[in-house]
Structures are given as structure tokens and as C-alpha cells.
Amino acid sequence: MSATSTPTPAPAPKTNHIGLTVLDYRGGKTTLCAGCGHNAITERLIDAMYEMGVQPENIAKLSGIGCSSKTPAYFVNRAHGFNSVHGRMPSVATGVALANQKLMLIGVSGDGDTASIGIGQFIHLMRRNLPIIYIIEDNGVYGLTKGQFSATADLGSKLKTGVINDLPPIDTCALAIQLGATFVARSFSGDKKQLLNLLKAAIAHRGTVMIDVISPCVTFNDHEGSTKSYKYSKDHDEPVQEIGFVPSFESIDVDYDPGTTAAVRMHDGSQLRLRKLDRDYDATNKVGALTLLAEAHEKGEMLTGVFYVNATAPSFVEQLNLTEQSLARMTEAQVRPSRQVLDGIMEELR
């Protein structure tokens, strides 16, 4: 509560490269449960926006319905936000992206919001490679409706009530890659460093970023027998690589060993650095990515990291050959053809 009632005044607040303090990226007070994984993701989003120096007014926050979908109200109050309807955020986001291509879209969804009711719109958004950072705050349950299984719940996962899930989980990352998303990753709300770097790289990407973040629900799915609990996730989190990020506004000649590390040049010139761990994994190979996830699925592994990235593919907005200026800002002169045009058409219809 103190967060809103008495903001602790810092002497000379640190600022980012556009001169804003981290407070400029703050949102309203969270109404989620204490310890909810979603709150941690909110914090990382604030940090990432701040560190990347994103202009708050250029952000558009979008979500569906759910505890996760409430979070856009908890970060960057200086950005417009839209908490739409359950499972349909992708279409709303598409409209926003078309109306104003200058905006940076952040879509926050839940596993229920995305994988159950929303899977259709999710698939078609991925297919369009719409420029957006699409985050699934994935706890395997419907939090806001008190803990029913969602479609990402793992086989055999158990509810507090003892009910066992006997349907296979939907791997949103595999789907996203298969369908055309160009930056696909999985993380864990408990892994600050990985998530922060992922988000910074996401901000540097142009096209659909889809990040499935395992985000435990402390109230309904954090118990023994759950495969989305803090404990289970900590124990099973297996990063496919170590993620580093060098933003465009920092000197990227901080060198690295190409033998152990692959560097991907992002759309804005930043660099995503993927350092090998146990396996030698190429995140730019789509088939490899799909095979990796299929195998992990069979073995029941929980892999995290960047599974696939294609920093050059054209986004949906580019494909539409839109004029520079955003459509929302068009003047009458630009959008209403002349009287002559109408007369000409009328002539043809005579």
C-alpha cells in the first residue's frame, strides 16, 4: 500500500538515457496476491522499459481477462492501457497496431486467456507476425476464477482438490514458432536475470515476440504435485543458453567468444548474445527449435531461453505497405479523395 500512499523520495534519482527515472515507469498498486508470480513479471517489465529508455507515452498496454491480464494497470501509468475481453486481446492489439504503427505494443495474457478461449486469436496473431511483445503469464490454472486447470497444465499435474489433469499441455512456444512468430522464448518469473534480458531483447525486436513465462499462482497452484509451483519450476528450469543483451545505445564492442556465444543483431541494432550451456543450440534454426521442443515435450522437460529468433523477417505492418505517418493521425485531406474523384466514379456508373 505504501507504494501509492507514500512514495519514498530518493535524493537524486538515477535516470535512463532519455532522462526518466524508474518511477516514470511505475503503475498502480497491484491487487494480486502477495507472492504471485505475475507481480515479479510486472517488476521486470518496469525495469526493462526503464533500462531501455522507452518513451512511456509511446507504449500501448493490452490484455485480456484474468489476474495476469490485470497487470497492465500495475506498470507504466504514463502509457494508455486496454484491459479488453477474455481471450480476445490479439484482435484488439491488431487493430491498435494498424491504427498507430508508432506505438510499442505490450500484450499481457494468461495461460487460460491464451491457450483456452484465446488460442484461435493467438494463432492468427502469431501467423501475422504482428509487432507486439506478447507475454503469457503461465501458471497452469485459471487464477481469477479460483484455480481450474488451463490448457497449459501438464499431464498428471494435481490440483489442491486432488483432481489430476489428464489432457496434454499446449506448448505455446512450439505453436508460436510453427505459426510464424519471429522471437519465441520461455522463462520463469523467478529468474530475474534471464527474464530481464529477454524483455530488453524483446523491446529491440520488430515483429511478434512471444514469451511464455512460468509464473506460479501461490494461491491455487503452488502446492506439492503441481508442475507450475515455485519449487517445481526452480528444480526443473533448464535454460538452453545463457542470455546476454547489449542495447544499441551502449557500445556493443564489449567482446565475446564466438566459439561459445552466438550474437544476434536485433532490428534496432542491439545485440542478443546467447552463450552455450550443455547443449549446442542454434536459436535461428526453425526446424531445430521445433524438434527441440517436441523432444522436451516427450521427456517432460521444462526448457527456458530463446528458442527461435529471426530478426529480419518483415512484420505484418510492413507487409501492408502503410504510409509513414500513422493512420490515426491522418488529416481529412489525406483520407477523403477529392470531389473530382467522386464525379469520375459517378461518370463510370452512368
Partner: protein, 614 residues
């Protein structure tokens, strides 16, 4: 070539003036199968008559499949300018074996029938004139390419009909050129076919039937266009920037035509598009995109039909409650469910008016003509942004997909109205704003667009409870205040929506209310009532919901008011019943037509006469 006109049938006719002649007042029906290419032949026939200066209308009755099923195209020539459907067929062109017998049997005595010789229909009746034509024999010489004959065959009947009705061949030739545009070869091939049919008829038949087309000057300067194309033009000139859609009959052609126009006229000097069109994955998505775009400041729209409207219900409620602009065309077809996708009806009035759960009401516009498809499209975008709410334009299949004679469209004189949007400057001046505050007492709040570069510009949009500052709220008072303001806003709309059109004598105690395409049967029916029954009846055409004060006045000023519409449940009648003063309700009477065919004048006048008798 024009010389030919002075020869043959018409010439004979001209020399021997018959008393019983029916000139420029009859209807032609071409019975064929869809996918056979008869469409262009029918359009040429329609245009030919139109170019003769004779008021004409065409209605296509087609099945819900792609090829091979019965299709009827009816052309009505009317010197009085009536363009509603006419029940009786006077002149039949029977090309479809499957329906030929039934088609002939349903003709009125004294009518005529051109038919494909092998069908051998002449024996069926003695009270009508038959003109058998060996189409296959005739088509071979004019169309060497065998596989084209199925199509070209149709043009033959155009020629035959020209000859028999006295339509000048040159007009059909002009029409052909318009029809095929750049496709020169096609135009010539078809012209030859028309000519062949024409010559054959001249050489073979002696005119027996009384039907004639004679030159008039009633179509001067008029255009021919379908409602969907007209609406598409309206959208373009309204400055639409984001278009989303999911294909559905009879709506698809609206967006498909719009795309063509936008590609031609809305590419900026930089060679780039000032619009975005998305074929969505379904109607839920189409609606979501419209609202998202509207929220972000675009002029956005979609077009659909009944099933799509149902699927949009949840999103429309969101648009109402979060107050987002968006234009939703509903080209109505016959429901419920899939119903009759290729038949016409005014059946979504109630569902659109109250679409979505909870207390919701929406602005509806009812175009009756292609002119209004154009002008109301423009108005719809202004209303949507001025009232920050979804606006529905309720057209129908008859209006949207059929060709109508019309006056050239008026260029919009009013500048585009974007409604109460605050920009950087305003915010600097005001220091801030409250998204849902009723500043002006009209119930309409102010909004800002995402990307507005001012720290106080942002607000949070949500479909859940909110206070004036757009903050989350479950407080009873916040909820009530907001809902009351929304009701106030809706009330304000009464004064801004298109006013009804009235034809009031001032003396009549009886009134009729209609809307949309029902209008055309109505004007004709009113004439029938006054001529045949000397019932002088006042007429009001509703053009929008919520109802303007004039509608209430009209009902107040009459003893009986007939509400005529095309659906089973008297949907407009019901909306009126809900809106008017309780003591006025007794005045309302209902006349319904809902078999999927466009309503005709006779059905209306008969119904009213019988009810007046009571």
C-alpha cells in the same frame, strides 16, 4: 447499325398500333442456373432498358451454392418509376429445364415466354405467347470455341428480348461495352451473339404479346449501382483507415469493392497506403480489430451479416461500455442461424439494437437507397466518433447486392467530425482530463489517443467498472453515475442521427412507418391505396435508432399507424412500442412480409386495405 431499328417486328408494330399495348410497365424474368454466366447477360438487358430512358430495376434471386442451381433474375420496367419488386411476371425467358414447367405454369394469362426450344413448353398453356428459340443451333456459328458457348448462349436471349420488346440493339451494344470494359474480344463475341438472337427473332417471330419498351427520358444523368458498392464508396469518402472483415454473403462484396476503390484512390503521393485492410480469422476478431483501431484513433469499420453480428455480441458490449468508436455494417439476410443466406430480410433490428448482455443500446442507421448507403456510411463514421460508440448500418441483401437506379452521389459537404479528442495542446491547456466525465452535459466524455505525448494523456480502458477518471471501481455510486451518463449520451443521439423522411398531407388520420428497402414497395403501395381505394395515407420513413422526436410527433398526429417491415417478429414495431408514450401504443399496427423475397407493393396495399376494413 441503328438503321436495323427501323425494320422488323417493331416496325410492323409501329405501323399497326394495337390498343392493348403495355408500354414500359411490365416485368421480365430470366430463369436459368447460377454459374452459367447469365449474370452479365441480365445486366446488359437491364442497362439497355435503362439507356432507353425507362426507369428499371433488377433483382437477382440466386441459390446458396456456387453453380448449377436454379436462379431467377427479374427486371422491372416502370414508366411510373416504381422500382420495388413486382409479384407478377409478364415476360419469361425460360432457360432452365429444372424449373421451366413450374415457371410457365405460374405465369398470368396474357404473358409471354421465350424458351430454349428443346424444352418444348409451348404445349403447356394456350393463354400465353411462346417464342421457342434454338439457342444451341444459334450459338455455334457465332461462337466457334465450344467451351465458351455455355456462356455466350445467354447473350442470345438478350438479342431475342431486344427484338421482341423493341429495345434498340445499339443500346445493348453500348451496354456490352460498359459490361466488358477493356475485354474487347469478349465484348465483340457477345455483341455478335446479341445480334444473332436479335436477327433470329426478327426473322422468325410475329409479335403476339402486348409488351413494349419505348424511349422515355426518365433516367437522364442517373447511375446504376448496387448498395454494397455505394456503401464502399461512402466508407472511402468518410476517410476510413482501418477495414477488417470476414467473408460472408451478402456482405463480402462491400469490402471487396472497397478494397478495389482504396487501392485506386487512397495510395498517397509516397506510393503508400493510407488504409489497412485485414481479412480477419472470424467476426469476433474483426470486431476486436475495429475497436482496437478505434481506440487508437483510426476510423475503423467492418461489414458482416447476421451470424457475424451474433458473434460480435461480446465485443459490442465492450465497445458500448468502454465507449469506443467503430462502424459495423450488417447486410441483413434471412435468419435465424444460417437461414437463407441468399435471400433478403430486415431481421437483425432487435438484435442489433440491444446487442450484448447487460444494459446496452446502440445507434442504428437504416439506408433505403444506394444514395443513402453512400451518405449514411459517411454519417456513420462521424456518429461513431462523436458518440464514441459502435454504430450499426443496417442494409440488406436486396439493397446491397442488387443493381439500383440512382442519382449521382453528393460529395460530403460537412468536414470529417472526429468528436471529443484531446491532443497535446489541449492537455497542456487543461493540465489533465477525466476520461468518463460528463463535461458538457450531453453525456459524451472526452478521450485521448494512445501515443499522445503528454504525461497526463494516458488513461486505462477496461470493460470492468470504472469511475470518471477511468480508475477501476466497484463503488455502487460510480457504477450508477456512469450508466446514467451512458443513457444520457444515447438520448443525446436522438438529436444527431438522420431525421426521418415524411410525406404528410396534413389531413390524413392514417400513417405508415417503414424503413430501409421496404420504402420502395411503400411509395408504390401508397399510390395504389389512393388511386384504387382513395385512401390518402401519410408516410414516415425511419432512418435511425434511437428515434428522433419527429417519429413520436408523427404517431401522435395520427389515429392509426401501420409499421411495415420485412421480418416475422415485427422488430421495428417492437422498438417503436418500447420507445413511444404508453398512450400512443394503441395506434400501432403491423404489416409483415418475411418469405425472403423483397417486399412488393401489392402485398402491402392488400394488407392495409384489409386491416382498414376492420
Amino acid at each position: 447499325m441503328a438503321t436495323t431499328v427501323d425494320l422488323g417486328v417493331q416496325d410492323k408494330a409501329a405501323r399497326t398500333p394495337q390498343p392493348g399495348r403495355k408500354i414500359n410497365d411490365f416485368s421480365i424474368q430470366v430463369a436459368t442456373v447460377n454459374g452459367s454466366g447469365s449474370q452479365s447477360a441480365n445486366s446488359v438487358l437491364l442497362r439497355s432498358i435503362f439507356q432507353m430512358g425507362v426507369p428499371v430495376s433488377g433483382k437477382n434471386l440466386f441459390p446458396s451454392n456456387i453453380a448449377g442451381l436454379p436462379t431467377w433474375y427479374t427486371i422491372r420496367a416502370s414508366k411510373q418509376g416504381y422500382i420495388a419488386r413486382k409479384k407478377e411476371i409478364d415476360f419469361l425467358v425460360a432457360m432452365n429445364a429444372e424449373t421451366a414447367k413450374e415457371d410457365v405454369m405460374s405465369l398470368a394469362p396474357g404473358s409471354a415466354c421465350v424458351y430454349d426450344e428443346p424444352l418444348q413448353l409451348s404445349g403447356l398453356r394456350t393463354d400465353i405467347t411462346f417464342y421457342p428459340v434454338p439457342f444451341d443451333k444459334l450459338v455455334a456459328p457465332v461462337c466457334p470455341e465450344a467451351k465458351l458457348r455455355r456462356l455466350v448462349k445467354n447473350m442470345l436471349y438478350v438479342g431475342v428480348v431486344d427484338a421482341l420488346l423493341g429495345i434498340e440493339l445499339v443500346e445493348s451494344e453500348k451496354a456490352l461495352v460498359k459490361q466488358f470494359g477493356k475485354k474487347k474480344k469478349a465484348a465483340e463475341l457477345n455483341a455478335a451473339a446479341v445480334r444473332a438472337g436479335y436477327d433470329y427473332a426478327l426473322a422468325t417471330f410475329t409479335k403476339q404479346d402486348p409488351f413494349w419498351v419505348e424511349r422515355m427520358n426518365e433516367t437522364q444523368g442517373k447511375i446504376i449501382v448496387d448498395g454494397n458498392s455505394a456503401a464502399a464508396l461512402g466508407c472511402m469518402f468518410a476517410g476510413v483507415t482501418v477495414v477488417t472483415w470476414y467473408p460472408i454473403t451478402p456482405s463480402s462484396s462491400l469490402v471487396e469493392t472497397l478494397i478495389d476503390y482504396l487501392k485506386e484512390y487512397r495510395i498517397g503521393p509516397d506510393g503508400k497506403a493510407t488504409f489497412a485492410v485485414v481479412q480477419a480469422e472470424d467476426e469476433l476478431a474483426a470486431a476486436g480489430m475495429v475497436l482496437g483501431a478505434g481506440w487508437a484513433g483510426a476510423r475503423s469499420m467492418t461489414s458482416t451479416s447476421g451470424p457475424g453480428i451474433s458473434l460480435m455480441a461480446e465485443f459490442i458490449g465492450l465497445g458500448y461500455y468502454t465507449e469506443l468508436p467503430g462502424v459495423f455494417f450488417d447486410i441483413q439476410r434471412v435468419g435465424p442461424s444460417t437461414g437463407l443466406p441468399t435471400r433478403t430480410m430486415q431481421g437483425d433490428v432487435l438484435s442489433c439494437a440491444f446487442l450484448s448482455h447487460g444494459d446496452t443500446k446502440h445507434i442504428l442507421l437504416f439506408p433505403a437507397s444506394v444514395e443513402e448507403c453512400f451518405s449514411m456510411a459517411v454519417e456513420a463514421f462521424d456518429l461513431a466518433e462523436q458518440f464514441q460508440t459502435p454504430v450499426f448500418v443496417l442494409s440488406d441483401l436486396d439493397l446491397g447486392m442488387n443493381n439500383w437506379m440512382a442519382h449521382p452521389f453528393q460529395y460530403p459537404e460537412k468536414p470529417i467530425a472526429r468528436g471529443k479528442v484531446l491532443d497535446e495542446e489541449d492537455l497542456k491547456r487543461l493540465g489533465g482530463f477525466a476520461r468518463y466525465k460528463d463535461v458538457d452535459g450531453d453525456g459524451i466524455p472526452y478521450r485521448t489517443l494512445p501515443g499522445t505525448n503528454h504525461p497526463a494523456a494516458a488513461y486505462f480502458t477496461r470493460g470492468s467498472g470504472h469511475n470518471e477518471k477511468a480508475q477501476y471501481s466497484e463503488r455502487p455510486d460510480d457504477y450508477v453515475n456512469n450508466m446514467d451518463r451512458l443513457a444520457r449520451k444515447f438520448d443525446t443521439a436522438r438529436k444527431f442521427v438522420p431525421v426521418p423522411v415524411k410525406e404528410v398531407s396534413g389531413t390524413s388520420r392514417t400513417g405508415i412507418i417503414a424503413y430501409g428497402t421496404t420504402h420502395w414497395a411503400l411509395t408504390e403501395a401508397c399510390d395504389q391505396l389512393s388511386k384504387e381505394h382513395n385512401l390518402a395515407i401519410d408516410y414516415l420513413r425511419v432512418r435511425a435508432y434511437p428515434f428522433n422526436q419527429d417519429v413520436h410527433e408523427f404517431i401522435k398526429n395520427h389515429d392509426r399507424v401501420y409499421v411495415v417491415e420485412q421480418n416475422r417478429d415485427a422488430q421495428m414495431f417492437q422498438l417503436l412500442k418500447l420507445d413511444i408514450a404508453a398512450d400512443q401504443v394503441v395506434k400501432l399496427r403491423s404489416v409483415l412480409h418475411y418469405n425472403g423475397l423483397p417486399i412488393d407493393a401489392r402485398s402491402v396495399s392488400d394488407a392495409i386495405v384489409s386491416q382498414e376494413a376492420r
